[in-house]
Subunit: 333 residues, 2 copies
Amino acid sequence: MATIGDVAREAGVSRSTVSYALSGKRPISLETRDRIDRAIHKLGFTVNAGARALATSETMVIGLLLQFHDDEFPPAMLQYILAVSTSARELGYDILMVTDSDGPGAVTRITSSNMVDGVVLLDVTHEDPRLDALRAARQPGALVGLPRNTEELDVFDLDFGEAARMLVDHLYGLGHREIVLLSPPRHVFDRGGAYAWRFRDAAVERAARYGIQIHPNYGESQQPGITRSLNAILDARPQATALIVHNDASIAVLPSVLHDRGVQVPRDLSVVSLYSQDFGRSFLLPYTAVETSPDRLGREAVQHLVRRMSNPGDVPAVAKFIEPVLTIRGSTA
Amino acid sequence: MATIGDVAREAGVSRSTVSYALSGKRPISLETRDRIDRAIHKLGFTVNAGARALATSETMVIGLLLQFHDDEFPPAMLQYILAVSTSARELGYDILMVTDSDGPGAVTRITSSNMVDGVVLLDVTHEDPRLDALRAARQPGALVGLPRNTEELDVFDLDFGEAARMLVDHLYGLGHREIVLLSPPRHVFDRGGAYAWRFRDAAVERAARYGIQIHPNYGESQQPGITRSLNAILDARPQATALIVHNDASIAVLPSVLHDRGVQVPRDLSVVSLYSQDFGRSFLLPYTAVETSPDRLGREAVQHLVRRMSNPGDVPAVAKFIEPVLTIRGSTA
DNA sequence: TATAGTCATCGAAGCGGTTCGACGATGAAT
DNA sequence: ATTCATCGTCGAACCGCTTCGATGACTATA
């Protein structure tokens, strides 16, 4: 393995000169730069990332922390992972992905050992135990998901309240007066998945303001419970003319369930939901829905994190709720 | 940030002594070990991963390389990612996940800069361009997926040929004499996704041996093509009594398509497929199928990689095809 | 013509660990 | 009573790179 010393010797200059040629932090004559370039190619030299990290205290790596809960639909998570990874790479960072079941431990481990320059926390809950670990860390973090206390933290999330209002407005405008709402499983609420109740509460509040009926329900996360609960919910409200589905696992199987019941959309029932474009494409979901935009979310989180990593202290904390976009797909009437 | 020097000073010993106490590579008296432990806790010391990596030439990080192709179904990939990540962590390794579109470049980048001790390549194709980069690297690699030339490489894959034979046998045993086979999209074949034609060829060969009819077809990867092609394929073979689906995207939407056609499983059509248990659970797939076992595959790949990383040279190259397991779910008659 | 900047380069120190060889103090074996 | 190992510890060197301050050679300024 060629080191910077080998390159220096080959080019007949000092190591520091090679370093400066590499970084461009000091002027180097054209001629020397040329000799150095040739030496680098001849020896196949690449900077040793560890040594550079040690010298600069910058690893150029971002930690990505995720946890898989039984009550979540794994395919949805992938969208966020990809978005974070891609935008990090665009900014020159690599991703250390940690799926430890011990979330706080993982945060502490990778930050205190200086493996990363910053972390992105996915799927943050109301009282996320990882936040204490993050606050204790030297490195900054960006959250996707809304904790109770956002002080000193950069958080990014969809504006679920607004999403709910948009969907209720849409249905109300079409004349619907009795709506069934399918939320995530009760577990998610208990665990503090704020997105769940932010969406539900806003929907209920909006419906109340219009004086229309809305029936909130919890969904299930595992088959065969999903189908069973879906049927039970629809059975219980035969008068309802519209369904709002805020539940990834349920929405994936909804088409076949509706079919089994002989329900035609939108003739018999209007259906709206909340999912990302990619997700909808994977599962052939033809429903009018609000985009969850994992790509925008992931990108913003990473960009902000990088900004904070480069000017520590200077960047004020932000809580950014990206505005939902309604995509009409003709599943409502 | 406390360094090993701070700990040494606090404990009144030399830095090397602290290091030996940490690693246990030389005997340390109980009393000094105690003083060192106290100092470590008092100062909240953690070894700096970069410095250690520099000194030992071991990063304790494994690179995980993946690429998302348009013709693949993203949710299936997640299973592998998780399996690799989990088993790596169990062995003390972290995962550097790289989703670069430039696969070979990514391999070279992370290996030549010594960011990782080894790499896992997911979804390896017949003539995978990443393999040259891997061969040129100092670090060993483990592949998931089968390349044309496996020399000097450790490859892990499901025995797709055997899987196909098991499914054909199963159907033949039940009396089926005309079978429709739905393969991955043509793109996958062209790109060199060996699993696609290994499965297809084995199925065709087996059917020929039994003297029964089998009709191979390419599937699609994106809606609405999936549904359209599924219907076209079924329309074309009205006599067929069984369907083998080797196509993640199609299998996810198959239930609703069959329903739309008024086809009852297994009364009107027997259906078998190939997917992992988790995948089936996510999508409510009730089909008799061969397990793809991403968890076993990921685990074996990582374990072998780690073994090779610790005794370089000593470990002979392996090509391991894990044996498929048939799970009867009652979708055949 | 003396003076002050630039420009290009070098040497040395430092980042935070690990590891090798040495060394004094013990205890066991001869 | 010597000799030999073993035990526990230390100092120094090294891993590969960055960066600070210094230096000599030029060029522009007064």
